[in-house]
Symmetry: C2
Subunit: 323 residues, 2 copies
């Protein structure tokens, strides 16, 4: 896993992925007490950065293997990314999703042409067993959400854009905060910035109660979340960092940050009001850290990656009303 | 008023204005029955395209004149654009606003450092008289919202970007739909595209009951709205096209389109769900026309300019809940 793989992914993504804007607002800077730039991946195709990794992985497959189709496990954003990238390559996609995933994510994945297989995580159904059976029957290739070099390379293209866009704003050093689940985006951006903006330091941001990456970085080994695997920030609730992503984060990333659900919601309201962006809770935690944990951040400027915007309308309206 | 003035404004705006993205979604294309691209000016500084014209006008002023300060009349978006551009030039701004303008717009204008003078339009207070008195006392220069060549040139820079971005998407012909109040943006884009994308046709879009521009284009002379000057789409409710903008629109623009408030709200919901954008009602009418008036649009692709996103949270939550 190296920078050249990210640069190769960027070439494959050219003309397919969207170069998302780096946004800012004087009102946001005032809240945060420093300059804040928001890399707006909620504006990426399918409403999250996951399209990058999915396109990267599917476009890199051997055509004969790809033609048999792909399969993925996802609570929703990786699902949509894989569904669209598969459809654009003209191949079938099967997505295994939990029954209690946000309705919009399930509906969109189906509407993008994927076959969705739901499982009941409350009843303890084994998604791996379900996936293995379907894959074996149909010869599908598994596209993992983060422990896959081509996926990490695709997510890392976000980092190439950040390096160039930040430089254009006169920013070449500072913390880059990334909403972190399994660490595919975080590790990909870290590798990209190591090569293209070595003055920047990547830091994962997680919701309270699901801070497996922060704890793993602190202890130096993979730590797991205990307790239920559901919460407001569904997109980034994962049991632990990946075997492939953790060593990269351990080598390159600064200490993790942790925000409360209330801070994630407040950040969604600020993004609505000041940036005109729709963020989902799990896509807002990095921005929340920039706004509300300034004491843990170094430098005059900070970059927060807003990773996704797939939130149901009723939840969004409720969060606005709480403000 | 010509293309060279727009190109000069683009040079002055470089490094200050934001090149806003041209967004799309397969779900949007499906509703519209053709490819739809959304020029996302809600992501411009201050949340609307008005910053372009304000910066263009203020940056072009004689420094000695500019130093005495500027004044503007606005229900809110021009207000914020002038306030920020004035502050960035280090000069004072006085903005005359109606008392019943959206709260966010008044608050933001003040927060951007402008002195806000409110008048009560229900009681028939004469804003022109108020403005003339303050200008005379303090030597302020009036920055009109649309009947000003430098303002039109600034708004026209949106058209230069549309031409380049659409070409990159393989689109060089088709209708460009623009939310239209006094016609500054519409006429500016029309002039820019006449030079840079002559296969495109600009068409103003207005809310039902405030279709002065559509009627003026149909009759060939300036027509006025009668009735109250307040409505859901506050940003684009103006009595008539401008003396400077109308001849440009009459020469270059296709027939106007008219949408209902219900269609504007539905377009806001689609922008929320599919593009992750916050649009205000008046900033959504062009997108609404693309979605719901396809029978009046020609071509395989259409471009809609989403002009602004300054909407109060309670109204936005209510509109989401109506969906």
């Amino acid at each position: 896993m190296n920078l050249a793989m990210i640069e190769a992914a960027a070439k494959r993504l050219a003309g397919h992925g969207r170069v998302t804007p780096l946004l800012s607002s004087p009102f946001v800077d005032e809240i945060a007490g420093r300059r804040v730039f928001v890399k707006s991946e909620c504006l990426q195709h399918t409403g999250s950065f996951k399209y990058r990794g999915a396109w990267s992985a599917i476009s890199a497959m051997d055509p004969a293997v790809r033609a048999r189709g792909v399969i993925a496990f996802s609570s929703g954003n990786h699902a949509q990314g894989v569904a669209l990238a598969a459809r654009q390559h003209g191949v079938a996609a099967v997505i295994i999703m939990p029954e209690d995933a946000p309705r919009m994510k399930i509906d969109n994945t189906r509407a993008l042409g994927a076959e969705v297989v739901l499982y009941d995580r409350a009843r303890g159904e084994d998604r791996d067993e379900i996936g293995a059976r379907i894959s074996a029957e149909r010869g599908l290739t598994l596209v993992k959400p983060f422990d896959n070099e081509f996926v990490i390379a695709g997510q890392g293209t976000t980092g190439l854009e950040i390096a160039a866009q930040a430089k254009a704003e006169g920013v070449e050093a500072g913390d880059v905060l990334v909403c972190c689940g399994g660490g595919g985006l975080t590790s990909g951006i870290a590798l990209a910035l190591e090569g293209h903006a070595p003055g920047m330091r990547v830091r994962p941001v997680e919701p309270e109660g699901f801070d497996d990456v922060a704890r793993s970085l602190a202890s130096g080994r993979i730590e797991r979340n205990t307790g239920p695997a559901v919460g407001l920030c569904d997109a980034i609730i994962t049991p632990s960092p990946g075997d492939m992503t953790f060593p990269i984060m351990a080598r390159l990333c600064g200490p993790g940050l942790v925000v409360t659900d209330a801070q994630a919601k407040a950040a969604m309201r600020v993004a609505f009001e000041r940036l005109k962006l729709v963020l989902e809770p799990g896509g807002a935690v990095a921005f929340a850290a920039a706004l509300y944990h300034g004491d843990q951040i170094e430098g005059d400027a900070v970059i927060a990656v807003a990773t996704g915007g797939n939130v149901d309308a009723d939840l969004f309206a409720q969060i606005l009303a709480e403000g």
